[in-house]
Amino acid sequence: MIVVKIGGSVLCKDPSHVILDLANHWGECVVVHGGGCFVNTVMERMGLTPRYLTHPGGLRSRLVDEETLKAYVMGVMYLNKLIVAKLSAVGVPALGMSGADNAVVMAKRKERVMVVDERGRQRVVDGGYSGRITSVKGELLVPPPLKVLAPIAVSQDGKLLNVDGDTLALKVAEAVGARRLVLLSDVDGLFLDGKLVERLDAAGVREALEHRDVVGGMKRKLSVVLEAVEMGMEVVISNGVVEAPIGRALKGMGTLVRPG
């Protein structure tokens, strides 16, 4: 099995290539998608300002209050249905799901998260409607049909929660026993000192995590990659807005990360 994470940047720029290519690969895939950029557009249209939390170590995460959660669920589910509709037109039987469907992805609300506030001080704040994934029902995600999973989980008490798409892809890969994880965004892979890194092992990822070029989204992505290769998966960080992006990634084009 292969887990293909389609980043929000791919969906906002041009999802046509990855959708066409899924027609060649869907029989052994599970798709997880993002939607950050579209959610921001929706929030803007609704007069909401995206806010972020900065955590010790520099990672940032979206501050998800009640109104933001609404915009988030609406935005990612719109993208989910757009993907599924386009897949149906190229003959791929696809079932779009949130984690709430069949409770396939359960999470616990992050009640306490550590942030670095405006004054540079560490503080424990309420994590809003963000969740830490506690379980994924892998057996419900195996094709056919191709499952297309939005980054939404459900809590024990029936609340929808925002979860990070890359982390969800990792947990899904673990749950279905996938050997490969393909992370598609609108860049060719990991760039260090202006150069594409074509091959990495776990040690290399640990080093890269300390590199000054690795910040924000890429830092989070590499943490996920590290966890994946430590579980023995092969990970490719690759471009999703080019022709046949899944085929390219499976040939190792982009940044190929292997456990050894």
Partner: protein
Amino acid sequence: MPSLACSVCGADVDVPSDVMDGEIVSCPSCGTKYIVRISDGQMLLEEFKGDVEDYGE
């Protein structure tokens, strides 16, 4: 600068005068970490047990 007693060793734990709810402070004597909790003008120290998401850093 206000201070509160460390519940482990009894030493004074200093709290910044502009402290905000949730801030992390440490006992200068035994090193125990606390979350400063402020509600209704009352200030309390809650032991920091580490059950807080720190995004793996």
